[in-house]
């Protein structure tokens, strides 16, 4: 469970995120839809405890973002951006293990977990090879495995398909749906309407730091008497995506 309460972030005079509130239920995918510069990354960075909110807070997995950021971090996994950044001179296993260790996993468990992830993502063949020479698809799998090595129950995805080709996008979508199938609570930001429509249970539209609408697709269509999400977005934001 994830609850966001009046979350606000100012960068100097710029209000990047302006008092947004929403809830995400367990096992649900919440889509944060907005143009470039709307405040999606800033929101997710606050949820990931990387940025300190100017005001407001969020409760993730029962822990308060402001008061117990370390506890919050133990419950979340992140995948930010489309490019899968890895340590090129470390092997796939070493890349994953580093994040497991920093998340306080003990060595025995970690080893088992990596073996399990290698199997799930079909990486067994190259798990002990250095990441520098991997294809994009191989790197992507390692990045997926890294984000869930500590088995978090909340996943934060910030535009995870930006700049990717069709098959890589399909892999990301599959991964997100797998996470959902495992009962993880998910926030996904995107500026692609079709992606949000395809994956999300509920959608929030963010514009200039404000959450201008939220609900299921059916609810949003009805509230704004529109025939498509595209129309809803234009109506609220004044521009097409």
């Amino acid at each position: 469970m994830l609850e966001i309460i009046e979350l606000t972030k100012k960068f100097g005079e710029v209000k990047a995120v302006n008092g947004i509130s929403f809830q995400v239920n367990e096992g649900e995918i919440f889509g944060l839809l907005g143009e470039n510069g709307a405040g999606k990354t800033t929101t997710l960075r606050m949820l990931a405890t990387m940025l300190q909110p100017t005001s407001g807070t969020a409760i993730l997995g029962g822990y308060d973002l402001i008061r117990e950021p370390e506890k919050v971090r133990s419950r979340i996994g992140i995948l930010f951006g489309g490019e899968s950044g890895l340590y090129d001179r470390l092997t796939a296993a070493e890349n994953i293990a580093y994040f497991g260790r920093l998340n306080n996993m003990d060595e025995g468990k970690l080893k088992e977990r990596i073996r399990e992830l290698a199997k799930v993502f079909d990486m067994e063949e190259y798990i002990d090879r250095r990441a520098g020479k991997f294809s994009k698809g191989m790197k992507q799998k390692v990045a997926f495995a890294r984000s869930i090595v500590h088995n978090p129950d909340i996943m934060l995805f910030d535009e995870p398909t930006s700049g990717l080709d069709v098959s890589a996008i399909r892999n990301v979508h599959e991964f997100i749906l797998d996470c959902k199938a495992q009962g993880k609570t998910i926030v996904l930001s995107s500026h692609t309407m079709s992606e949000v429509e395809k994956l999300c249970d509920r959608i929030g539209i963010i514009h200039k730091g404000n959450l201008v609408a939220q609900g299921t697709i059916a609810e949003l269509l009805e509230q704004h008497s529109c025939g498509s999400m595209e129309e809803v977005f234009v109506k609220l934001v004044g521009e097409k995506l």
């Binding site: 960075r45 990931a48 990387m50 979340i76 490019e83 950044g85 340590y87 001179r89 260790r101 920093l102």
Partner: protein, 406 residues
């Protein structure tokens, strides 16, 4: 901050960076190879130059003064005790002969010298040489000395003929006593080079690591996942800080190994300077050695913190590299400025200024003129700089504005 997380970060970074060939090259191989090369080439060419200056001094006469009598004067009188000066032939154009490196000197002697000599009237010997040429100007002293001592001998003979004691010409004699400690002048070369190289290498050594560890991490996109692990931000910073510090020491240690190898190849290099005792000798008290090593270590720590702060500030890997290379210049300026400085010239303020204090401490112990108060002040101020620079790095690392700008 958790020590466990610091250790995990440190271990990973060391493993990661030591797999990078480029870093190993700059941190290990170059310092190890550079010093012996420097010793061999610089030492070799210095030796050859010295040999050329003192030996093989070729002299010709001008055509006009090329007479039996003059040749006899020079060969059997003036150059008699100078076997390295070789009179050989005569030339029409002295300037041309010298320019073409045919002869180092061309000498002209007044033709009527013997009658002048008999009458006691001075006569002139003209020496043509090239002052812009190191060999020519270097050997000039030897040639002039030969003529001067011949001149003195002539005076002596005249005085003896007149029954006057030649000692009358020398009312005062000068006696030289070198007050420098035995090894102080002998270690001149190493005193000059080692502190300079050490401070520059310490500044350079951490750079590949520092660039990679924050700017590189940001550019690669691994920084955000890293900051979302349970390791606190300060643990991440500290693990990285220790890594950068380690690598800046690795290059200093590599340099020392290089010095030792260089010393084995060419043992006289360090002392190849006038007045050197010809042997490298150290008698550094353990306490002083320890103090100065600690000061050097703290210098490495200050550099590491500053480098990490810069790497955090940089927008990209490239930008970080550019900023960090400016830092090398910052290290070079005080190093060069004090390069020729002798241990006796060291002053209190030098032990207070960052960077300069490490250089000064090293110079002091290498020169064996030890002042524990100064060394202590050097270490004390260095420790303060370590704390200040770390606070600066931590402040930078907590600054959202710099950490997350893209």
């Amino acid at each position: 901050m958790s020590l466990k997380h610091v250790w995990i970060v440190f271990k990973k970074e060391v493993k990661d960076i030591s797999r990078d060939r480029r870093t190993l090259l700059t941190n290990l191989l170059i310092p190890i190879i550079l010093m012996p090369l420097l010793f061999t080439f610089l030492g070799g060419s210095m030796k050859k130059m010295e040999k050329d200056i003192t030996e093989n001094i070729t002299v010709a006469l001008t055509r006009e003064s090329d007479t039996e009598e003059i040749r006899n004067l020079l060969e059997n009188e003036v150059f008699k005790n100078y076997p390295n000066i070789k009179l050989n032939g005569s030339v029409d154009n002295p300037a041309e002969a010298i320019q073409n490196d045919k002869f180092r000197f061309v000498i002209d002697v007044e033709k009527d010298f013997s009658s002048r000599l008999e009458q006691g009237i001075p006569y002139t010997i003209t020496i043509h040489y090239d002052q812009s040429d190191t060999k020519s100007s270097g050997s000039f002293g030897i040639l002039a000395e030969a003529i001067r001592s011949y001149s003195q001998k002539t005076v002596k003979n005249r005085l003896i003929e007149m029954n006057i004691d030649p000692q009358i010409l020398e009312p005062v004699t000068i006696q030289q006593v070198n007050a420098a400690k035995d090894n102080a002048s002998g270690n001149f070369m190493i005193m000059m080079m080692l502190p300079m190289m050490a401070s520059i290498l310490i500044a350079v050594g951490g750079i590949p690591a520092a660039t990679d560890l924050v700017a590189g991490e940001k550019e690669r996109g691994t920084f955000e996942p890293l900051l979302t692990t349970q390791a606190g931000r300060m643990s991440v910073l500290f693990g990285k800080y220790l890594t950068v510090t380690l690598f800046s020491f690795v290059s200093v240690i590599a340099q020392l190994i290089g010095v030792v190898i260089g010393g084995m190849i060419n043992p006289t290099f360090f002392t190849m300077v006038e007045g050197g005792s010809g042997e490298l000798s150290f008698s550094i008290p353990t306490g002083a050695l320890l103090l100065s090593i600690l000061t050097i270590i703290t210098l490495g720590m200050v550099f590491s913190a500053v480098q990490l702060a810069i790497s955090t500030y940089a927008r990209s890997f490239k930008e970080a590299q550019t900023y960090l290379s400016f830092l090398i210049f910052a290290a070079m300026i005080p190093s060069y400025a004090t390069m020729m400085m002798q241990p006796d010239d060291l002053q209190l303020y030098m032990f207070i200024v960052p960077l300069l204090n490490a250089i000064a401490s090293l110079k002091m112990i290498l020169g064996s003129v030890i002042n524990y108060t100064y060394l202590g002040i050097g270490l004390g101020t260095s420790l303060i700089y370590v704390i200040l620079s770390l606070m600066f790095a931590a402040w930078m690392f907590n600054k959202e504005k710099y950490l997350f700008r893209n």
